[in-house]
Assembly symmetry: C3
Homo-oligomer: 334 residues x 3
C-alpha cells in the first residue's frame, strides 16, 4: 500500500518470529507493507481480527494474512498465513517492524537553547529552537522536537519521543519510552483559587506531574501539576488529543482516555479503565479498576465496580426532541 512512511521490508519468517506467530506457507516471501484485507497489494501483509471482514478473505490480494487458527482452519485458500490468538496485536507488532518511525539526527540543533547545567545523554536529539532549562535531565535515545520547552529540573527517561512544540513545566518527570504529541502541556498550574469576599486568590500549585513508562499523550492535551503532591499517570496509559487532566489525579496503569475528555481534579481512575471521548468526570471521584465510561457521558458519582456506564441523551430529529424535552422538563410533576 502506498503510505506516507518509508517501509522496511521483512521476510515473512522473520516477521513471524518477531511477532510470535506460527508461520504457515513460504517464509521467504518478502513483505513490503501492511494494509486492510480489501486494499492489500501483492507484497502486503493483511490481518483478520473482526469477523465482519471475513468476506474479504476470498478476494484479498495480500501476500500473507495474520489471523486466528480458527479462522485459518475455516479458510480454504492456501495463501501464506501467520497464526496467532490475537491477530490485531500481532498486526500492530508487524506494522511497527515494517514502518519504523524515522529518527531525526542525533545531537543538539545549533539553534536550541540548552542550559549549561542540563544533562543530556550523547545519543539524544534536540530539535531546532528547543529550550532545555537548568538541571533538566534527558535520557538515552530520547528525542526533543523542534520548539519544545523543557523546564528547569525536568527529568525525561530514555527512548522517549517528544514531538515538536511540547511544553513541560519545571520539575515534572517523564518516564521511558513515552510519546508526547505536539502542543501538549505537562505541568501547568491546576485550577486552584480561594474566594475572599468575591475576589479570587491564587493558590500556588507546588506539586508535579509524573508520567510513568510507556505513556502516550495526545496533541494539545493538558495535564496539570498537583496543588500539593503530584498528578500521576501510571505506566502504559494512553491519552488522546485535547484531554484535560486536573491537578492531583491518578490515572491507573493501562487506562485509556479518548479525545476531548475532561477529568476534574483529584480523580482516581483505576487500572485498565476506558474513558470515552468527551466524557466529563467530576472532581474527587474514584473509578474502579476496569470500569468503562461511555463517550460523552458526564460522571458525578464514583464507580465502585467494573462494567460499562452510560449517561447520554438519545438523539432525535429536532422537532421530536423538542416535544420530548418539554415532557422531560416536567417529568417529576408528571
Amino acid at each position: 500500500m502506498d503510505t506516507a512512511v518509508v517501509v522496511q521490508p521483512w521476510k515473512l519468517a522473520a516477521l513471524a518470529e518477531v511477532i510470535g506467530a506460527t508461520l504457515e506457507g513460504d517464509g521467504n516471501i518478502e513483505i513490503h507493507g501492511a494494509a486492510p484485507l480489501d486494499r492489500a497489494g501483492a507484497h502486503d501483509i493483511a490481518f483478520l481480527s473482526d469477523p465482519k471482514y471475513r468476506v474479504h478473505l476470498e478476494t484479498t490480494q495480500a501476500a500473507a494474512v495474520i489471523l486466528s487458527p480458527k479462522e485459518s482452519a475455516a479458510w480454504a485458500a492456501t495463501k501464506a498465513r501467520l497464526l496467532t490468538p490475537n491477530p490485531y496485536a500481532a498486526y500492530a507488532k508487524a506494522a511497527n517492524c515494517l514502518y519504523p518511525e524515522p529518527r531525526p539526527a542525533t545531537g543538539v540543533h545549533p539553534s536550541a537553547a540548552v542550559a549549561t547545567s542540563a544533562r543530556i545523554a550523547p545519543d539524544v536529539s534536540v530539535g531546532a529552537h528547543a529550550t532545555v532549562g537548568e538541571h533538566a535531565v534527558i535520557g538515552a535515545g530520547s528525542i526533543i522536537g523542534a520548539g519544545c520547552v523543557i523546564g528547569e529540573h525536568v527529568t525525561i527517561g530514555s527512548h522517549t519521543r517528544i514531538h515538536p512544540r511540547v511544553v513541560i513545566y519545571p520539575h515534572c518527570v517523564i518516564g521511558d519510552r513515552c510519546v508526547l504529541h505536539s502542543g501538549c502541556v505537562i505541568g501547568a498550574d491546576g485550577f486552584g483559587f480561594a474566594n475572599e469576599n468575591g475576589n479570587w486568590i491564587k493558590i500556588p500549585q507546588i506539586g508535579r506531574v509524573v508520567l510513568h513508562n510507556d505513556v502516550e499523550i495526545g496533541a494539545n492535551t493538558t495535564i496539570d501539576r498537583g496543588a500539593l503532591g503530584d498528578t500521576i499517570i501510571e505506566e502504559n496509559v494512553k491519552i488522546d488529543n485535547l484531554v484535560q487532566i486536573g491537578h492531583n489525579c491518578v490515572v491507573g496503569a493501562h487506562a485509556a482516555i479518548a479525545g476531548c475528555a475532561g477529568i476534574s481534579g483529584s480523580v482516581n481512575i483505576g487500572k485498565h479503565c476506558r474513558i470515552g471521548g468527551a466524557a466529563m468526570i467530576g472532581g474527587h471521584l474514584s473509578i474502579a479498576d476496569g470500569a468503562v465510561v461511555a463517550a460523552a457521558t458526564p460522571l458525578f458519582t464514583s464507580i465502585e465496580e467494573a462494567g460499562m456506564y452510560s449517561g447520554v441523551y438519545p438523539i432525535l430529529p429536532h422537532r421530536q426532541w423538542q416535544k420530548n424535552a418539554v415532557q422531560l422538563r416536567g417529568l417529576d410533576a408528571l
Copy 2:
C-alpha cells in the same frame, strides 16, 4: 468605526462592483469602514440582513447600507445603498476589501531553520523561529508564521496563511488559500492501540492529513493522520477552535464544525453539514449531506438524511433537575 485593523478606503461605486451589488445613490462616497447599523459612523458602510435590526435603519449614521431590494423598497430614506439578495455575503466581501489582512514581509526570517532540500517559492514569508523540514514544498504567496514547525515532505499550496506556532507533521498536504490558526496540530498520530493481555501496543499511524483548498482550521484544533490511508478535509470546510478530528475521517466540502466538537475516527461527514459546538460524533458513522447536528449533541448512530438532529438535556434550576433526574433514572420501571 475604530478597529484594531487599518482600513483601506474604497469608493462606494468600486465596492458595489467588486461585491456584485446594485448601487443606488452617490458612487463617489468614500467608505472608511464597516460597522453594525446602530454603531456605524458617517464614513462607514452597514448592512441589514436579519429583519430584527430593521429598526436601526431609521437612525443609522452610516454613509451607505447594504440590503435586499425588498428591504430597500420599504425604506423611506434616500441614503446611498447597495442592493443584493444576500446582504450578509455582500458585507463579508466588502469587509474583505476594507480590511485587507496585513502581510508580513516576504522572505525567510534569519532565525528560521529551513532545510536545504525544502522548496520555497520566492514570494513566501517564513517567520522567526519557524522550522521547515527536508523536502517540504511551500507555494507562492503563502505565509508561515513565527514558531511554526513544518514537517518533512509536507506540501503547502499557494496563498495559504499559517499563523504562528502551528505544527504540521511529516507528509501532510495543505491546499491553496487555507488559513490555519495558531496552535493547531495537523497530522499527529491517531489514537490506535491493540490490547494484548491488558497491555496497549501502539499501531503505527502511516496515513496523512490532506486539506483541500480554502479550508480554515481554528486555534488549537487537532486533526489526526490516517492509520492506513488518509484523513481528508475537503474544500471550503471551516473548522473552529479546539475541535478534534480523528484518524481517517472524511469531512465533505463546505461543511462547518463549531468549537469544542469531537469527531471520532473513520467518520464520514457529508458535504454542507453543520456540526454544532461541543457535539460528539462516535466512530465509523456517516452523516448525510446537508445534515445539521445541534450543539452539545452526542451522536452514536449514522444520519441517513438531511435535517436537524438534537440530543441535549434541557436545563432547569438545580433542585428541579434533581427531582427529574430521579424519575429519569427509573423511567423504564415507571
Copy 3:
C-alpha cells in the same frame, strides 16, 4: 512537605501579619512549608477549612494551623494557630509567601526576535525564541516565556506572567498581574463566515481581545478576537485549560470558567458567575450575575437570575441506560 518548588521560610508572626490573621502561640516558629493537616511535617503550616477534615486536627504534626476562631475554640490542643474567618483564603496567601514563584533572569534572551519599535520596560524578562512584534508594549516586571509570539501592537501590562509558547495576535490588550498558561491563544479569528450558494465567505475579524487586570488563562485555552468590537475578559476572571471563548463575549469580573467549557460568540457572562467544566453555552445568551452553570450542562436559554442551573443526563449501568433511553425517545408519545 517535599515539593517541587523551593520554599522561602517565614516566621509565624510575620506570616500572621501578611495574611491578616490573629496569632495565638509562639510567633518565632519558623515555617518551612504548607501541607494538608494529615501530611504536614514538623515545620509546616496546615489549615482547616472543610469541617470534614477536623478529625485530622488531633493527630496533625503541623507546626501551626490556620483555622477559624470557632474551630480553634473547640480544639483542645495548644499548638500555634492563626485565626481568621476565611482559613482557605488565608492559606492561599500564606502559600504565596512560602512558595514565591521563581522569576527567570531579567533581560531579553539573545535568541528572541524583538522588533525595534517594541517598547519593553527594563525589568522585563523575554525568554528564548520569543517573538515580539512591531509597536508591542510590555510593562514593568512582566515575563514573556520561551517561544511566545507577541503580535504587533499588542499591549501587555505590568507584572504579568506569560508562560512559554503563548500566542497573542496583533492589537490585543493584556492587563496587569495576569497569568497566561502555555499554549493559550489570545485573539485568533472568531468563527464568522457568510454563506453564499453553499460556499463560505470569511468575514474579517477586526476587533480585539482585551483582558483586564488579574486575569488567569489556562493552558491551551483559546479566546477569539471580536468580529466588530472587542471580546472582553474583566478583572480577576479565572479561566481553566482547554476553554473556548467565542468572539465578542464579555466575561464579567470575578467569574470562573472550568476546563473544557465552550462559550459561543456574543455571550454575556455576569460578574461572579461560575461555569462548570465542559459546560456549553450557546451564542448570544446572557447569564445573570452570580449564576452557576453546573459542569457538563449545555445552556441554550439566557439565565435571568442568580442560582444554580443543571442539565446533565444521569449515569446508569449501560443496560439500564439503554432501556431508559428507549422510553425517553418515546416520552412525548407516552
